[in-house]
């Protein structure tokens, strides 16, 4: 094509000591990757923990934290998939409970543990597909659909349990989900596999790109021929599926399936995703950050446990963490780094706003005809 092919160079930023310093800080943070700030916050929290309690930095404690964090992470990754499309899934805690009861009952009935696992995952997946279909074809907002399902799933879990204790003593199952695999406990390995698989999916596959597009602009995605209805149902399916996996992991830890577990887990999952930096409007973030966010939250909760802080004040801290995280990633605080960047790097990128229709045209006189 015979078009203008001269490369356009960006105007050079002004050199000054301030901009050089900011530049250096920028390079350091970006050398840590886009998750740089998460590592910094994580290191900070770990430092605070080791100062506040002598038991914090023990291997026993850290492993316990990791195991708790693993379940949260698995749910958080699923929640992330839904949030990236601009939705939300409040039903994951209830689905975890339902899944734990399902796997417990199946094992009690003598089903082999891989089959019991499959059954629990199928039940969870079915809930997810139902959520997705309600949202896409029923036109109901995700918040309401998953809120209702939160209630329904838990109700079903209670009914299935029928007040008994659903104890699990299938050794095959228990060792699969609690024994050490190499240096790490099984839950941690499971969480890492989930994290890596979905991280690769989001950044390297068509499906991941399509989820980002749906969150970025569902109209543009639809008009580009993307199968957004199918993909949204898929996201809710995966979120529930992973919640089901989380439920199975908890059942193994507790050696029982129970309809009361997972209370508040959806909040933990959402908190992990936003602390990880994803915007609740969708289109941003990644699974690894969601997991790191989950870890940070698990550590903060652990520190509070070690300090003997009661459950109720812990809720306050958890809520405050969520507010601060959202403030800095999506809210007002989000503008701060941008404002600083603009101040120092004003002309670095393209010139915006220069599409005034008046540019280039002769000034036109007002034409008054009588």
């Amino acid at each position: 094509m015979a078009l203008n092919t001269s490369p356009v160079l960006p105007p050079q930023p002004q050199t000054s000591r301030l901009s050089a310093a900011v530049n250096a800080l920028r390079t350091f943070t970006s050398s840590l990757g886009s998750k740089g700030y998460l590592f910094v916050v994580g290191a900070l929290v770990l430092a605070v923990g080791s100062v506040l309690s002598p038991y914090f930095m023990t291997s026993r404690n850290l492993i316990a934290v990791l195991i708790t964090a693993s379940v949260v992470s698995v749910l958080a990754v699923g929640q992330y998939l839904v949030i990236v499309t601009g939705g939300i899934d409040l039903s994951v805690g209830a689905v975890a409970a339902l899944s734990s009861v399902t796997v417990g009952l199946a094992l009690q009935a003598g089903v082999s543990w891989p089959l019991a696992l499959l059954l629990a995952l199928l039940v969870a997946g079915f809930v997810g597909v139902f959520n997705g279909l309600m949202i896409v074809y029923g036109g109901i907002t995700p918040f309401i659909v998953t809120l209702a399902m939160m209630s329904i799933a838990r109700g079903v879990a209670y009914i299935l349990q029928t007040g008994r204790q659903v104890a699990i003593d299938d050794q095959g199952f228990l060792s699969a989900f609690t024994a050490d695999l190499g240096p790490l406990p099984a839950p941690v390995v499971i969480a890492m596999i989930v994290m890596i698989v979905l991280a690769v999916t989001m950044s390297q596959t068509r499906y991941g790109r399509r989820l980002f597009a749906i969150g970025g602009n569902p109209d543009a995605a639809r008009l580009s021929g993307l199968p957004i209805k199918r993909d949204i149902v898929g996201a809710y399916f995966l979120s529930s599926l992973l919640a089901g996996l989380g439920g199975v992991m908890i059942a193994a830890q507790l050696t029982e399936g129970s309809a009361i577990i997972g209370e508040g887990y959806e909040l933990n999952a959402i908190a992990a995703v936003v602390v990880g930096g994803a915007s609740l409007f969708g289109g941003t973030g990644d699974p690894i950050s969601a997991v790191l966010g989950g870890l940070i939250i698990a550590v903060i909760l652990n520190i509070m446990d070690l300090l003997g802080i009661q459950a109720q004040p812990q809720l306050i801290v958890k809520g405050a963490v969520i507010l601060l995280a959202v403030l800095f990633t999506s809210g007002v605080g989000n503008k701060l780094p941008g404002a600083i960047r603009k101040l120092v790097f004003q002309k670095r990128y393209t010139e915006k706003g220069s599409d005034l229709p008046s540019e280039g045209k002769e000034k036109e006189k007002i034409d008054v005809a009588n």
């Binding site: 980002f212 995605a221 021929g225 199968p227 289109g283 393209t350 599409d355 036109e364």
Partner: protein, 514 residues
């Protein structure tokens, strides 16, 4: 002619040097306008010309970036719509501002319900006064009915009653007759004349010229954020008004374009016969399109021209399958289309560059690369994984070929200027392999330099074997096509061939407009 300062001070309402910008666009530039008591002043202009922005400033919804609003010659500033209403400037907005669950009477007197001596609401007065207001407009409605249950014409009447009941000194009407049948328009005009005799200044914005010629004293024309002309409101001025509204490519710019050998610059190469790229018969969508027949030949640039609001976006959406429609037949590149679905259209080789790139064409938070490849993901992922390296290289090639001014294709596309965003949106289709493209308002919100480049890109696409339907409200773009269909109120009301355009220029098309 009296000196401007003097005139402004005798006016009832005026704006001096008012400008307003929104991110990415200058909505109003340096507007001077004054209206006398008892004057009915019409404002004409295309969508995006700045009319609604001016209304928002006068009604207190927004503040101007610079310039002043003058009431009785003295500067005023409104912090909110209520302040403007206290100054007795009443507005009938284009998007009805009624509360559907409240009754007719409550809507008319919202915020100023008459009180009894005790301070409670005097509901009887509310109802009787509301009835009275509506009767003045010739409407006999049950004032207790919830407004949401009324047909739209009645809702519009309530909206108008709300504005005129407030003891207005200045009345602004933004498309007040959009849904009113003929008879009711008469009543409205009788009322407006009554108000005019009381010395009330009226601003009347409409797309319906016959109405404006009947009721207005003068008509100002807005284009691209400027007030470009003012004329007597008389049908004899219609051509002048249309020309001012639509503008034209100056001779200097025509020379720059250098696209063709005849005087009028050209987007196409003149193929108006032969193989058919797209053919539709009897296209209807049940609300805005009423039976459209259209044939696009391979290699042709077919213009669909008309003033905005005549079904342009609906036509584009129906053709692309983004909205449901019914038709007797629809063929793309010789194959029947079975379902109305964007993915199906793309599979058949049809793409759509929509009117609103920010809300429909691009995902502003995603990078240039990600936007460019959005309709071609399959091409960049052999097997399961995306080949991001190939993606990046393709995006860089597109950036260079289309002269998209961006330092890195990894940048979010929301950072780019309007013209460059439009190029990214176009690049998405050029890379997708579709051979037929529907483009709506190709250069809206795009500066002159990028405009010319985009025209060149379209021409290149056609020379490489593509076919294009250009749906536009800009007359100069229509004139660049091989053939032009006129879209009016959801129907094709006429067609203009190349010979006529070459012979008569703008007049060939303007003559066919309402």
């Amino acid at each position: 002619m009296t000196a401007p300062a003097e005139t402004a001070s005798r006016s009832l309402i005026a704006v001096a040097g008012v400008s307003k910008a929104y991110p990415g666009t200058q909505a109003l530039s340096n507007i001077d306008l004054h209206i006398m008591p008892g004057e009915i002043h019409g404002i004409a202009g295309q969508n995006g010309a700045g009319k609604s922005t001016l209304v928002r400033i006068l009604s207190g919804v927004e503040k101007p970036d610079s310039g002043t609003v003058l009431l009785d010659g003295a500067p005023v500033s409104f912090d909110n719509p209520h302040a403007a209403q206290r100054a007795r400037i009443m507005t009938v907005h284009q998007e009805l501002s009624l509360m559907p669950h409240l009754s007719v009477a409550e809507n008319i007197y919202v915020g100023e319900l008459p009180r009894t001596v005790l301070g409670t609401v005097d509901w009887r007065a509310v109802r009787s006064q509301a009835r009275e207001q509506l009767l003045r407009l010739g409407f006999d409605l049950d004032v207790r009915a919830p407004v949401g249950s009324l047909p739209i014409a009645h809702r519009q009447a309530v909206e108008i009653a709300k504005a005129v009941s407030g003891n207005a000194r200045v009345l602004i009407l933004d498309e007040p007759t959009a849904t009113l049948p003929r008879h009711d328009v008469r009543q409205l005009f009788d009322l407006l004349n009554q108000l005019k005799n009381l010395g009330i200044a009226i601003i009347y914005i409409s797309h319906h010229f016959d109405e404006m010629y009947e009721i207005c004293d003068k008509i100002s024309v807005f284009r691209d954020g400027r007030r470009v002309a003012v004329h007597e409101a008389d049908a004899s001025r219609h051509d002048l008004i249309l020309q001012a509204m639509l503008g034209g490519v100056s001779t200097e710019q025509s020379a720059k374009l250098q696209l063709g050998s005849s005087e009028t610059p050209r987007l196409g190469v003149g193929r108006t016969a032969g193989e058919v790229a797209l053919a539709v018969r009897g296209l209807r969508d049940g609300h805005d399109l009423h039976g459209i027949d259209l044939t696009l030949h391979r290699g042709e640039v077919l213009g669909v021209a008309g003033l905005s609001g005549n079904g342009q976006s609906q036509l584009a959406a129906a053709l692309f399958g983004a909205e449901k429609s019914t038709q007797q037949s629809f063929e793309i590149n010789g194959r029947k289309r079975h379902t109305a679905d964007p993915a199906e259209s793309i599979r058949l080789g049809l793409g759509l560059l929509p009117e609103e790139r920010k809300t429909q064409g691009l995902a502003l938070t995603m990078s240039v690369t990600e936007n460019i490849t959005m309709a071609s993901l399959a091409k960049f992922s052999p097997g399961f994984f995306l080949n991001r390296g190939r993606e990046h290289r393709a995006a860089v090639r597109m950036r260079d070929a289309l002269a998209i001014k961006v330092a890195s294709v990894r940048q979010p596309v929301g950072n780019l200027s309007g013209g460059n965003q439009q190029k990214v949106a176009l690049a998405k289709w050029l890379i997708s392999g579709v051979k037929t493209l529907i483009i709506v308002e190709p250069t809206r919100g795009v500066d002159v330099g990028a405009k010319l480049e985009i025209y060149e890109l379209i021409r290149q696409f056609v020379e490489d074997g593509g076919s294009v339907i250009v749906i536009t409200s800009e007359i100069d773009e229509a004139l660049m096509c091989d053939r032009v269909l006129i879209l009016s109120r959801g129907r094709i009301s006429g067609s203009v061939d190349r010979a006529e355009i070459d012979k008569h220029g703008e007049a060939a098309v303007l003559n066919r407009f309402n």
